[in-house]
């Protein structure tokens, strides 16, 4: 199995869904377990929603967002790149307090919290004006865990 897709996104609130659904189609075609398909597309959706919502100011003429999806060597790798303001969601997003009541809960940080729980390895780097987020999910994680 080896597939690779590169997608360029418009700065539009509907784009995360387009990528998530494209990933889903690709992953199902490659017989990725449904549990991993769901979790990985949720992570892509949450991270891309952050980018299209917060990475850019009013002047968006130079805005560029691209996503590379790759499935090979029994793992899924996604790289999300944007030339928006520096932001490391892995460190800069607030950790939600899950013990608070409904009245006191805030929703901030929940998307990143789910992303961290659902994807095996996440990493961030900022280079030459670009944010680069990498998501790596081995497809054999469950069997390794159970071994």
């Amino acid at each position: 199995m080896e597939v690779r897709n590169e997608l360029h996104l418009a700065l539009d609130g509907d784009e995360p869904r387009r990528v998530a659904e494209m990933f889903e189609e690709m992953a199902v075609e490659q017989d990725v377990p449904v549990d991993i398909v769901f979790k990985f597309q949720l992570a892509l959706d949450e991270l891309l929603t952050n980018v299209v919502s917060y990475a850019f100011d009013q002047d968006t003429s130079d805005a560029a967002i691209k996503v590379t999806l790759e499935m090979k060597d029994e793992r899924i790798v996604a790289v999300i790149e944007d030339n928006g303001r520096p932001f490391n969601p892995l460190l800069d997003a607030p950790d939600p307090d899950l013990d608070l009541s409904a009245e006191d809960r805030t929703i901030g940080g929940l998307g990143i919290h789910l992303t961290k729980a659902f994807v095996d390895t996440l990493s961030y780097e900022r280079t030459e004006g670009w944010n680069r987020l990498s998501l790596v999910q081995p497809l054999t994680a469950h069997s390794e865990e159970n071994a």
Partner: protein
């Protein structure tokens, strides 16, 4: 996404199907608000047809939980698919709302 609602006194069952994400969470929010605004204090969200829900959907549920709590009732979920249940568990939402097997069980929880 589609929401179909059946009313019974001050309780209602809203059956949500399809996909709830940041692109359409506003529609989900409006649908639940409209139900609560009709005087519903015990709201059951039947998730049997819910294929996908991101944190944008959780935000909508949190608002509905607050509004129904304030009205003296609450929000309960039923028929939650396994992968959505995991989202509720990881996000701590299982502490904010009860999850039942059937809509009837969920609705009965508001009777007392």
């Amino acid at each position: 996404m589609n929401v179909e609602t059946s009313y019974s006194g001050t309780t209602a069952v809203a059956t949500v199907s399809g996909r709830v994400d940041s692109a359409n969470a506003k529609d989900f929010d409006q649908a639940l608000r409209a139900i609560i605004d009709k005087g519903v204090s015990g709201l059951v969200v039947d998730c049997s047809g819910l294929r996908y829900m991101s944190s944008a959907g959780l935000r909508v549920l949190l608002i509905a939980i607050r509004k129904t709590n304030a009205a003296g009732g609450g929000l309960a979920l039923c028929q939650v698919p396994d992968h959505i249940r995991e989202v509720l568990e990881v996000s701590g939402f299982v502490r904010l709302t009860k999850v039942f097997d059937t809509a009837a069980d969920a609705q009965a929880s508001f009777a007392g």
